[in-house]
């Protein structure tokens, strides 16, 4: 056991810190002050400036190969970067669904041509990818997908509707699951497709999230023809009919969304402690902050343990990612709830904590509700019987 960082990691940390400090300031200046939310049209454009800065500094996807704009960084370095990123006050990544959901799958299942084309443009924020999982009747029950992809000469014809597509109204491309075998049910007969949103017959309608931002979209497919070469290398990721296993293979992977970096919560708890110091003593709130601090710390330790295992023999977190997701999402809610209690009556006025509170409430819902995650944990980690 050795919980110290090596010289290489410390140098990496120092470089990241210097770059982030300088560039965050420069970006804010470029925006003429605090940028708007990345989930508004105006703010999204501002955040693209930031994404391009990250790409130019080769910080957009540090763990990727250099040829796609990364640094071939280790998972340790990725954790360090994330820690520094949130400590410096870096904004939420508007490219994250591409980088954290699609890219791991591309690395595992994509053809070289797909990888070469998609990854570099994704890191550069030239192509902006949104996810197309959920449908009006397929939320928690993702296998209930009914949007169809029909094979035709030279491509696919897509019909149906996706929804809850985060930042869909601002993106250029969608990745998602479509039913390619109309006779197959549930997890079978699905295909993972890459779809340019400017395809004829695709209509995107943005709509408001709880926090008021236009962060969601519905995407309608009305006999939309997607040519095989609409994405160089092909629009099918993995095999036809293999969509479910392709999509699921990387949900628990090291780069998956569920391994949300601890740095984000450590930084949030630090801000909470600062708010407390400014608000005057209250032993009850103090205890809640200690609770949040301990949970953020435990999350970091759990992650360090997981990364140790990942860099050793084991390949992926597997079902442990389910308790991971419950942990950080509930922690995030409690951090913000505590902050609002500190603010008192001022909590009902818009501000960063009120915004963060509203966003935190999506955590127990998205990427598989915490109810589903608890089912997974009980069935796969403890071996309890399905019904």
């Amino acid at each position: 056991m050795d919980l110290t960082w090596g010289d290489e990691e410390e140098a990496f940390r120092a470089e990241a810190r210097r770059w982030l400090t300088a560039n965050l300031a420069a970006w804010r200046e470029e925006c003429g002050g605090e940028p708007a939310s990345g989930d508004t049209r105006h703010g999204f454009a501002q955040h693209l400036l930031w994404e391009r800065r990250l790409f130019e500094g080769r910080w957009a996807a540090v763990s990727w190969p250099e040829r796609y704009g990364g640094r071939d960084a280790s998972l340790w370095q990725w954790l360090i970067f994330e820690e520094e990123y949130y400590r410096a006050g870096g904004p939420p990544r508007v490219t994250q669904n591409g980088i954290f959901l699609l890219a791991p799958t591309l690395f595992e299942f994509g053809t070289p041509a797909q990888q070469d084309h998609v990854l570099a443009r994704m890191a550069a924020a030239e192509d902006l990818w949104c996810q197309g999982w959920s449908e009006p009747n397929a939320g928690s029950d993702l296998a209930g997908i009914t949007s169809r992809a029909t094979r035709v000469d030279g491509g696919w014809v897509i019909d149906g509707q996706k929804t809850w597509t985060t930042r869909g109204a601002f993106c250029t491309h969608l990745f998602g699951l479509f039913r390619s075998d109309p006779d197959a049910e549930r997890h079978r007969g699905l295909t993972y497709l890459l779809v340019p949103l400017d395809t004829d017959g695709v209509t995107v309608r943005g709509f408001g999230r709880l926090d008021g931002d236009e962060g969601f979209a519905e995407v309608f497919f009305d006999s939309a023809f997607v040519a095989d070469d609409a994405v160089p290398g092909g629009v099918v990721l993995g095999g036809v009919g293999e969509g479910w296993s392709v999509a699921m293979a990387t949900t628990g992977s090291e780069r998956g969304l569920t391994l949300r970096s601890p740095g984000r919560f450590l930084a949030a708890v630090d801000r909470l402690a600062d708010l407390y110091r400014a608000s005057g003593p209250d032993p009850l709130v103090r205890d809640r902050i200690v609770d949040c601090w301990m949970r953020a710390e435990a999350y970091e330790l759990f992650t360090l343990q997981a990364v140790t295992e990942l860099t050793g023999s084991r390949a992926a977190m597997g079902a442990e990612s389910s308790i991971n997701k419950i942990w950080w999402s509930e922690l995030d809610v409690d951090i913000h709830h505590t902050a609002l209690d500190l603010l008192g009556p001022a909590a009902e006025v818009e501000g960063p904590w009120a915004k963060g509170w509203q966003f935190s409430l999506s955590g127990p819902i998205y990427a598989g509700t915490n109810e589903i995650q608890r089912n997974i944990a009980a069935e796969r980690l403890l071996g309890l019987p399905r019904r």
Binding site: N137, W164, E348, V349, N370
Partner: protein, 318 residues
């Protein structure tokens, strides 16, 4: 001993519920989100005025009905259930017993923001050791961006003149505050009930994995707990109404208990309801958020749960 509203009180409540179901559907609340300051629709307000609700607690001689809080507690719960954006607690319960309101009255006590500040005809302010009533035009307001935009908040920046002193006895000022807290507690029960009803309807219909999501034990238990929280907070609110009405020596304690429990019940209910809805609850196109944000606002208005719990602790001597 009889711990229940009378048939007359229930009939009054039912009449208000009926009125609000017609006059204040969610579209009216949405309209309040978008209307510019000072331009709040007066439809439901005027209807309530016509029914006598707005002066119900005011002395009979002054044109009011002289009703006590036992009459109003269920009525105010209904205004919460409808997420009525108008300052009904401030007008009816805070000012009402002191003096018949002249039009829509908001209040900004203890420096907190005033709801419907730019829409009100009068503002009640505690200033220079008295509760003072100002005409709207004598108050300089600054707009605040509330999370629940139907709150239409303004903060008092300056006052013109001395206003009309409506209370200067500290006990009367405290009693007015307690009425605000209690009326808000009643509204919170209604907001919570509205969220629960909406969610119960939704989870019965919404199907995933081939069954209604309301058949999952996790959903059942979470909503059963929400129901429980509301079912036990409601009598606490009702008892505080009796304490206020009968000037019981335990009034402060009872109001504090009521507001603390109602705030917590609404908060827990809101989170349960959002979670049981899933993504659709997380959109502004669906109605849930109108109630959810109201619950957040009201649970912190007129003293949050922590503040009222400290009052209870002091009252029971620990």
């Amino acid at each position: 001993m009889r711990f229940a509203l009378t048939d007359e009180q229930l009939a009054f409540r039912d009449a208000v519920r009926d009125l609000l179901s017609k006059q204040c559907p969610p579209d009216v609340v949405r309209a309040a989100w978008g209307a510019p300051p000072g331009a709040l629709q007066r439809g439901p307000w005027d209807a309530l005025a016509e029914m006598g609700v707005l002066s119900a607690m005011s002395p009979e001689g002054s044109g009011g009905m002289g009703l006590d809080f036992c009459w109003m507690v269920a009525v105010l719960e209904e205004t919460g259930r409808a997420a009525l954006p108008h300052p009904v607690v401030e007008t009816v319960a805070v000012l009402g017993p002191l003096r018949a309101p002249e039009g829509m009255t908001s209040a900004a006590l203890g420096g907190t923001p005033a709801p419907c500040a730019f829409d009100a005809d009068q503002l009640l302010v505690d200033h220079d050791r008295a509760l003072r009533l100002y005409r709207r035009e004598d108050v300089l307001l600054e707009e605040l961006a509330a999370v629940d935009r139907a709150r239409r908040l303004g903060v008092v920046k300056a006052l013109n003149g001395d206003g009309e002193v409506v209370a200067d006895d500290p006990a009367a000022i405290e009693a007015a505050f307690d009425r605000g807290a209690l009326g808000t507690a009643a509204q919170l029960i209604g907001v919570g009930q509205a969220m629960l009803d909406l969610t119960v309807d939704y989870v019965k219909e919404r199907r995933q994995f081939g069954v209604p999501v309301g058949s999952f034990q996790a959903v059942k238990h979470r909503l059963a707990d929400a129901h429980k929280a509301l079912a036990f907070a409601r009598p606490a609110v009702l008892r505080a109404a009796w304490s206020v009405a009968s000037s019981a020596p335990t009034t402060g304690r009872d109001v504090a208990l009521a507001k603390a429990m109602a705030s917590e019940a609404a908060d827990h209910t809101g989170r349960a309801c959002l979670q049981c809805h899933g993504a659709i609850g997380y959109t502004v196109e669906y109605d849930l958020h109108l109630f959810l944000k109201r619950a957040w606002a009201l649970s912190r208005a007129w003293g949050d749960s922590r503040w009222h719990r400290r009052r209870v602790a002091a009252a029971i001597g620990i």
